[in-house]
Amino acid sequence: MAFIPPKETYPGRVYSVSIGTGQKEITVGGENVLPFHSFEGAFSNRPLIAYEIHDVPPSDWPESVQKPYLDVCANPVSWAKYCQDILNAKAIALRLIGTHPDRENRSSEDAAKTVKEVIDSIDIPLIILGSNHTEKDSSVLIAAAEASKDRNCIIGKAQEANYKTIAAAAIANNHKLIAMSELDINLSKQLNILITQMGFDKEKIIIDPMCSALGYGLEYTYSVMERIRLAGLAQNDPTMQQPILGDVGMYVWKVKETIADEKDVPLWGNTEERGIAWEAVTAVSMLIAGAEILVMRHPKAIEAVEKMIDELM
């Protein structure tokens, strides 16, 4: 008798979430199986990788990841168009880091203007991220949400301290919302409940359980993501069935393994190759753990992860 591999089936399903508009609209989620387990059920929507760009020049990025963008990164519009038109990006993640009070401290109005210019110059979906300053993000993201009204973006990140204003802005302007908690599955569920209790559609939330880089707590992120996915699929928990976002680039391109020069640590090999590998490995781990959307920086790392997705789909 032929061997029949056992199949795991689950009562739950991840919500399908569409972002963007028109022909470039993209749907993520929708699966009723663990990541890439297409032999057990439906895993039809491809995970999405968004190219991260900033509203101000990325002076804090290591040289090897600044390099691909040197000619365009002075202007967020040319940066976004470069990602879309030359690098064939499927989505852009615009981080308004320049609004942070410890950075350029740009105003909400300036941020909104940047958002408007960027969204008018591209037709692929846009993710709009604040600077992770909970107070400043409240006002910045309201302005950003209005500036991108009805373009079906993802805005975030809403956290326990500021979710009310940001969720209200997402409702008013028809956007999806990132709900972020700090590596704690119970708080992640709680935040989703609080947001839905405001009248926000639970199927328009994206979960960010907080990312981390290989060697710097990746196993915690991995475990939380995996448990969120299992709660959604196996326990059929409607508060844990949202797609998951992994904000990979910002955690990877600040650890010493992606920065240290080959001259200082010759045994570690080429700095740029090492950084690319570090970002790609971290990203792939997130996908295997259950993430549907990744925010990444280096084109070659993205290329490597896209290739792996091709092979696994």
């Binding site: 599955i185 409940i193 209790q197 709660a231 326990q235 508060t239």
Partner: protein, 260 residues
């Protein structure tokens, strides 16, 4: 755990009057209220219903399913009334449950109906000879009902074994015996047999203020032994059921878990 809402019972005056007058409003209000409180099925207890049983059960099932998307637990000893209910039950929201068969040959016909209409069924572990003395006797009767179900073509996963909860005020020793029986029933098959209790009977005859306390604590102990379903008032037991699900790891904890 599955809560089967018990409030639509002919024993309640308001329900009885509505049934007699065929007044849909009170029946539907109670059905909706139980659904919102967490019931996964609605019990329709029309009593022995010797006259007009068929018509009454039909009316009850239709009236309930017009407003709540849940299956109905058909609760009567009248065989024809059960069949009438099964015929018009809307299975889109889950399969019905017959309440009940037992080891009394007069009740075997209910198994025939379960097989014919692809319904689930409760097997009350009593025979013709009166109440079971202990958990072992309950398990022995359960095994006989299981054999009978197999004979009639009812799959064992469609059979819910009911150990028969007795009043704590008159039969205190049975409270623990029923808990033991819930555990033993599951061991009678692999996968484990499903179990159900008529929860509120534990506090029947007790002062009103004691009843929720007895019901909820008793439910916790039964749930720990693996009880599958309880016929109960969802308003009374929902917080306990949700809390047990969290403690037993079936639901992920969050501060607002009771509000979900």
């Amino acid at each position: 755990m599955l809560i089967i809402g018990e409030k639509l019972s002919i024993i309640a005056k308001r329900v009885r009057e509505a049934m007699m007058k065929k007044d849909k409003k009170p029946i539907q209000d109670i059905a909706i209220s139980q659904w919102k409180a967490g019931a996964g099925m609605i019990d329709a207890n029309i009593g022995p219903a010797e006259d007009n049983g068929e018509e009454l059960m039909e009316w009850m099932v239709t009236t309930i399913q017009e407003v709540v998307k849940l299956p109905v637990c058909l609760d009567t000893t009248n065989y024809k009334a059960i069949e009438a209910g099964l015929k018009i039950h809307n299975n889109e929201w889950g399969r019905p449950l017959i309440n009940s068969t037992s080891n009394d040959p007069e009740r075997f016909a209910m198994l025939e109906l379960a097989a014919k209409y692809n319904s689930q069924i409760i097997g009350l572990t009593v025979g013709k000879g009166g109440l079971p003395a202990d958990a072992e006797e309950r398990a022995a009767i359960a095994a006989e009902i299981m054999a009978r179900a197999a004979e009639y073509g009812v799959p064992l996963e469609d059979l819910y074994l009911d150990p028969l909860v007795l009043q704590i005020s008159t039969s205190q020793d049975h409270a623990l015996k029923v808990i033991q029986a819930v555990k033993m029933f599951q061991e009678l098959n692999d996968p484990p047999m499903k179990t159900v209790v008529g929860l509120s009977n534990i506090s029947n005859g007790c002062p009103k203020e004691l009843r929720p306390i007895l019901n909820n604590h008793y439910l916790s102990l039964l749930a720990y032994e693996g009880l599958t379903a309880a016929i109960a008032d969802p308003h009374d037991v929902a917080p306990t059921v949700k809390t047990i699900d969290v403690i037993m790891g079936k639901t992920l904890y969050a501060h607002s878990y009771l509000e979900m």
